[in-house]
Amino acid sequence: MDGRPLARGVESRQRFSRIFSLGDRKNPSSWTPGIVLGINDPELPISIAPFSSRRNSSSIPANISISTRGNFCFPFDTPDTWTSMEGLVLPPSLAESDSGTFSEGEEVLLVSWQSLHHDIKLNDKNLEPSIVVLVDSPQLVKNQGLLIDAIDTIRTKFPSSLIWTPGIAGPDNCALLTWMGIDLFDLSRSRSASAIGVLLSTLGPREIDYTVSESSDMDAQCAEWKRSISATRAAIREGSLRELAEMQSTSSSKSVEHLRLHDLKMRELGGGRSGLSRVLGNSATLRCNSFTSRSDALIQDWHNRVSNFHTPPNHQTNVLLLLPCSAMKPYRLSQSHQRFAKSINTRGVHEVIVTAPLGLVPRELEDIWPAGNYDIPVTGDWDKDEIYIIKNMVKKISNRTNYSRIINHSGIKIEIEGIDIKDTRKGLSAGCSESLSNLSIEIDNAILDFNIPKMKESLHRLEKLKSLSRFQHGCDLWLNDTSVEGRPPIFTIKNNGIQLAQWNPRSARFAFSKSCLPILDKYGTLSRVYLRNDHIWKGDLFSTNVESIEGDIRRGDEVLVYQNNLLIGSARADAPGWEWPNGPGRLGRAQHRL
């Protein structure tokens, strides 16, 4: 029942979704997300439907065969067929029992909620099937949260396998399932829709429109699939799959339920584990146009880290200044913030911008993902949820930082016991001369009341970069004894004339020099990647040369590379932490070699 493994690479990725290229990586002939065709299904192009399946149930347990529709396995000479025995499976509600038999197969692994609980073979580190099939998907979707848990378990255990959840996908939820980590779908729901004369469209099932002679035949159903898969692949490439998944989910209450539960689960995990990115550059866009987008792990991660962990620059711990956000990012380039700046006659107050859905964006973090990239619809009003989030975050960061005073120019009423709060808006607009005058007066009062010293711009920049480093890397010790040079917005960080890093707001990251690596190593600043001892490191980082990792790697992270316990270089993570060390394709791009 074994066979040749599927050759696959990753063309693009976002969180748990990937576009796998199948076959010869120089000339792939198909991609995922894609469709597994059944024997009675219409012929679809290989580019959309890379596999076909056949089931033999003449005896129990049945066998399932999956065939490649192209030459996807090295040396790419013929199509391949993998066959597995289904096993005898109990439904999810009886998973406390291990009665039955588990599936048998090498390249096609069939799993169920029951086998995820009881099959010890699944713990085998060397198990790397080409395709994993979740056979009780139709039952799992009916039990709240089980599908999410099952997919997450399979996805992270078998990062390079393609996952198929038979019987539940359609053009109306393929983006959502892809968002959760599913790669393969089938036409079963479309077949059912066709049978009853309903069109399963990308926006959900609906009656056909007779005025334009619409059809519900399988050709029409497949056209919807093609649209949906193309849109999903395009969204992964441009990093907007979340929006598409949210949009699709509204066609079904169950889909909304799955998205919410998935968000909830991801929020409880670390950033790397939940697939978050740390650095995407300023060309990426995060469109938060729906209420649901607030539940995304990315947003919740920001709330958590700003509220509970972020520490302001060391010279800005006495006075918190709350400012309203602007449509332009970074805020400092907007006209409104340039006007505010004229009223802020000190570098010694901690400027924090009040916004939605991120809640608060400290000035020193305004360039980084996602603060420098988000976009929201602006109505001029805050809703109750936004106000609750903002107040809660202000309360947490204030109590933790022990600000003595808050100058509130945000327009949102803030009250925190034990902290002196000065409202400079008093119901006026943020940019009117009276409120700006109030702001200026309160800043001057704070300078006097707290004896805030004047600070050199270079030191101010260094402290801001230290604060930024603490937020991004959890540590700023590598910045000790350094100086900041250069013309804004690009800064060069040096130590005794040796360049350690550069800060460029366009890439929104510290670009570390080779000289900095031993310092970063000394202070344990970055996540670590350990290469196999017998490997000669020439190219990038792949599962074939990575032995293990240490730390919570987010996509875009700079990581230190070790071999035989020696630091040998650095790389930038293409893949988030959950894909390391066994994920498909390039995990990291080599940066420096020592």
């Binding site: 005896s59 129990i60 009665s99 609980h117 010890i120 009780d136 009916k142 009853i196 066609s251 169950k254």
Partner: protein, 377 residues
């Protein structure tokens, strides 16, 4: 299989299916329900039209006695069997005689009945379940009155001595064996039947040796099986068991309280079969069976109801009636005029089950709006 230690395992020792089957029997509700029964009253008595072994139409009395239940249940039990709800642990011979008298009272001493089915929620001639004096009294009385008797038994309890005794007391009576599936894997895993196909064959041979008639029960759609697989397999099994049986009775799964199937049903992990599947099975076995001296009976208990075999709700009554008529007439014309829009939904479900590796089936709600049947699950 090993103890719980898979990717999601919590290290606790896994249970066997046997434990899950037995669990509801011991609930306070179940115990109090069992103790509430009047041991002098039978569970059910009713009269139905039937056919005698020679095909002559007749009237049959069915008497379901309240007994101690089935020895297999005492040890383990079948996944779908809810008879434990209807038994009492302390039923005596005197109680059974009282029940028999009550049955006679309710039927005016079986007036007009030439056939009688005496069901005991177990094996009629198993001495641990039914006192021998009562067994003998029923066998003799029904024989002396010229009534054709049908009793039920488990295959592994058909001992040579006992069958010879049975044949002596009531020659030519029918023994109904609950085979359920002509497949050892299904018997063991899906049904937890307690005997094998080989044991059933042995029992059939013994019954034949004693000139007793064989009625074989098959279950349509046991738990842990898709509709598509159930249709394909049961169609095959009917053809396989018919040559060995005088009658094959196919029982579509219905949901009995407190059973494993009930638990799955409440978790929306099991749907009783489509009535269309039963029609399809009958149509696909009719030709082959009609060449044999074997009658096919399909009686959809709770047919058309949500806990029994059902369709969309609008066509159920007509189809149940047609199936019932077929069981008496053995005429396929009973189905010639029936159709419904839901047949296409059923057909696509069967097709999906046959093609996809969805072992437990891909069935969806049948009684929601047309568009909602295909809404994203």
């Amino acid at each position: 299989m090993a103890s719980t230690s898979g990717l999601l395992g919590d290290g606790k020792k896994a249970k066997k299916i046997h434990h899950l089957i037995k669990a509801p029997e011991n609930t306070p509700f179940s115990v109090s329900r069992r103790e509430s029964w009047d041991a002098d009253k039978p569970a059910v008595v009713y009269i139905t039209p039937e056919n005698l072994p020679d095909g002559t139409p007749c009237t049959a009395a069915t008497v379901i006695l309240r007994t101690k239940g089935c020895v297999w249940w005492w040890k383990s039990g079948c996944t779908f069997c809810g008879y434990f709800n209807d038994v009492r642990d302390d039923v005596t011979s005197a109680n059974l005689f009282a029940q028999w008298e009550e049955a006679k009272r309710q039927t005016k001493d079986f007036a007009g009945c030439t056939m009688i089915k005496v069901y005991t929620s177990g094996t009629f001639f198993e001495d641990r379940e039914i006192p021998v004096d009562f067994q003998e009294a029923i066998l003799v009385e029904t024989h002396e009155r010229g009534m054709h008797l049908v009793v039920e038994a488990q295959a592994q309890l058909c001992y040579p001595d006992k069958l010879a005794w049975l044949a002596e007391k009531h020659p030519g009576c029918t023994v109904a064996l609950g085979l359920e599936a002509y497949d050892d894997v299904v018997l063991r895993f899906h049904v937890n039947k307690g005997f094998s196909v080989k044991q059933w064959h042995k029992a059939v041979d013994l019954l034949r040796e004693n000139n007793l008639r064989v009625k074989t029960y098959l279950i349509f759609k046991p738990p842990f099986m898709s509709e598509g697989d159930a249709l394909n397999l049961t169609t095959k099994w009917v053809k396989q068991v018919a040559p060995h049986s005088d009658e094959v009775s196919i029982n579509p799964m219905n949901i009995q309280r407190g059973t494993i199937v009930d638990r799955l049903f409440r978790n929306r992990e099991f749907r009783p079969p489509w009535l269309w599947s039963l029609v399809d099975m009958i149509q696909n076995t009719h030709e082959e069976i009609s060449k044999l001296e074997c009658r096919t009976i399909v009686h959809p208990t709770a047919g058309g109801r949500i806990r029994g075999a059902h369709n969309c709700g609008s066509c159920d009554e007509d189809i149940v009636a047609a199936i019932e008529r077929y069981s008496v007439s053995s005429n396929l014309d009973e189905f010639s005029d029936i159709d419904c829009e839901c047949k296409r939904v059923w057909k696509s479900e069967i097709e999906n089950d046959s093609m996809l590796p969805t072992i437990l089936g891909s069935g969806v709600e049948r009684r929601v709006s047309r568009v909602d049947t295909v809404r994203a699950p």
